[in-house]
């Protein structure tokens, strides 16, 4: 016991000098600090109340877990905000890692680097009660026949085109709030989101929201996996990958998922 305490004391004492483990040393923007970017605003349940410093929300919690695994204390994590465009523009970045539900795709991977996936996202159909009452169900014929919408910057757009192939061209919007607004205005019947986002929008933002069903995350074609984004060629990627691997192996990732994204299991699967 005393030994553990003294080792703890030792590690705390040496914390200032060896703030991070060997892997991350010298690879961050500011030595001894991990700068993490997220969206502006960051949405529930990824970050609760748009306050990632609180460690509340799945992505906030994952970011802190990864930081800790790399040897950064909670105080050594600073947050910045970035849009999607800021994250992919060429040139120096103002973040070490950027975590905001980036789907890993080979095309994006040519311009920026992604960590190993930290979450496999099922895609879900969000709609409203009047639309369901009017006869929308999870059959493909019904899904094809309604007016679709999606957030233009997401992989929901190609998924709509490839899997659902709606009769009418979908309407696309800048962000989730606009998609929901169009849904309230009756301009679109249904929209495609990742499942946790759909659950949040359906339960909190829409009065009569219904999450109709989900396309399983493990589908063979084009699985939607979220990764942290780095500037192309950032050497920190290897350290983050190792940290994620460790978190996956010891069950931390699964546990965080259970804590923050537990409601996702009750949604019917669309075959």
């Amino acid at each position: 016991m005393r030994l553990t305490v003294s080792i703890l004391a030792l590690s705390v004492a040496s914390g200032a000098a060896f703030a991070q483990n060997d892997c991350a040393a010298g690879k961050t923007l500011t030595e001894g600090t991990l700068t993490v970017a997220t969206g502006n605003p960051a949405y529930f349940p990824w970050v609760i109340d748009d306050a990632p410093e609180s460690k509340q929300g799945f992505e906030a919690a994952v970011a802190y877990a990864v930081a800790n695994a790399m040897g950064f204390s909670d105080d050594q994590v600073t947050w910045v905000r970035s849009s999607f465009d800021q994250a992919i523009q060429p040139g120096a970045k103002d973040f070490d890692i950027n975590i905001q539900q980036y789907s890993i795709t080979p095309e994006r991977d040519e311009i920026v680097d992604f960590s190993a996936p930290y979450y496999s996202a099922a895609m879900a159909v969000l709609t409203r009660k009047p639309v369901v009452d009017a006869g929308l169900d999870t059959s493909f014929e019904a899904l094809k026949g309604v007016k679709w919408g999606a957030d233009a910057a997401t992989t929901a757009v190609p998924m709509l085109a490839e899997i659902i192939q709606p009769d009418e061209a979908p309407l696309l919007y800048n962000d989730n709030a606009d998609v929901v607004e169009a849904m309230k205005a009756g301009q679109i019947d249904a929209a495609l989101f990742d499942l946790p986002t759909a659950l949040y929008l359906g339960a909190v933002v829409l009065d009569d929201g219904v999450v109709l069903g989900q396309f399983p995350a493990e589908r063979t074609e084009k699985p939607d996996q979220f990764g942290m984004l780095f500037e192309e060629g950032n050497p920190l990627k290897a350290c983050v990958d190792a940290a994620l691997e460790q978190l996956r192996a010891d069950g931390t990732l699964a546990q965080l998922e259970a804590t923050w994204l537990s409601e996702t299991t009750g949604v019917p699967v669309i075959e």
Binding site: Q89, G91, A153, V157, G186
Partner: protein
């Protein structure tokens, strides 16, 4: 100067990354046909908005020109209207009208973003066009109005047969400029749903994490706006020659 830019920019340390993101030939070739396709929607929106703007602008200009004291409310309405819609950014009008009005609970197809987006464009641009028409009307010398009235033409006939034919012709170049601006602002309708060229480029940008589609979209816009601008210049020069 140009030579210096062409020679020196590629020497900048970030050039390879910028080139890959903004001037990627492969991405350009892959996305250009889709962008051209989406541009048809821009043209369609422009084609149905322009006549409406012309008509609405003319009506507002005539309202502001109403001289009878009894018509003062009309005149006031015209003034308030142009003040408000020239003072609010187009994009705000599009958001407020495009999401707000359909949100009142209209059934399809009356809640269409195309419909209300067009209304927003017409509301904004009619205010500018009205001001251009007003300057045109006021540029016709007062003596012409007096002469027409003394010949026995009514107020409305004077406006219709004497003032307007000259006024509208005189402000054609100024209106051309506004319609060139409109041609670009049509892209703002993408904010409320329609997938026109700007949105299509944005989708490609997100999927490919590459800004080259925006460059492609810019080229397509230029291909239309440069000839239009030249034509407006030509009209202006012609008018200048005719008057001197």
């Amino acid at each position: 100067m140009l030579a210096a830019i062409v020679l020196l920019v590629p020497l900048a340390p970030g050039w390879p990354a910028v080139k890959k993101s903004f001037a990627n030939g492969e991405v350009f070739a892959k996305t250009f046909p889709g962008l051209l396709d989406a541009f048809l929607l821009d043209i369609a929106i422009f084609a149905w908005s322009a006549p409406l703007i012309f008509a609405a602008g003319l009506i507002v200009a005539l309202m502001r020109d109403a001289r009878a004291p009894a018509l003062y409310p009309l005149r006031l309405l015209g003034i308030v209207y142009t003040d408000v819609f020239r003072g609010v950014p187009v994009i705000l009008v599009i958001y407020l009208v495009g999401f707000g009005v359909p949100g009142l609970g209209m059934p399809r197809p009356w809640n269409s973003p195309y419909l209300w987006g067009t209304v927003a464009l017409v509301l904004t641009y009619a205010a500018y066009v009205a001001e251009v028409f007003r300057t045109g009307i006021e540029s016709i010398h007062q003596s012409q109005r007096a002469a027409a009235l003394s010949l026995g033409l009514s107020e409305s006939d004077t406006m219709r047969y004497v003032i307007l034919p000259q006024a509208i012709r005189r402000v054609v170049p100024a209106n051309m400029n506004l319609f060139i601006a409109l041609q670009k602002d049509v892209a703002l309708l993408s904010f409320i749903g329609p997938v026109e060229i700007f949105r299509q480029a944005g989708v490609y940008k997100s999927l490919l994490a590459n800004f080259t589609p925006y460059v492609g979209a810019a080229l397509i816009f230029l291909a239309v706006t440069i000839p239009a601008t030249r034509y407006a210049d030509h009209l202006m020069a012609k008018q200048l020659r005719a008057r001197s």
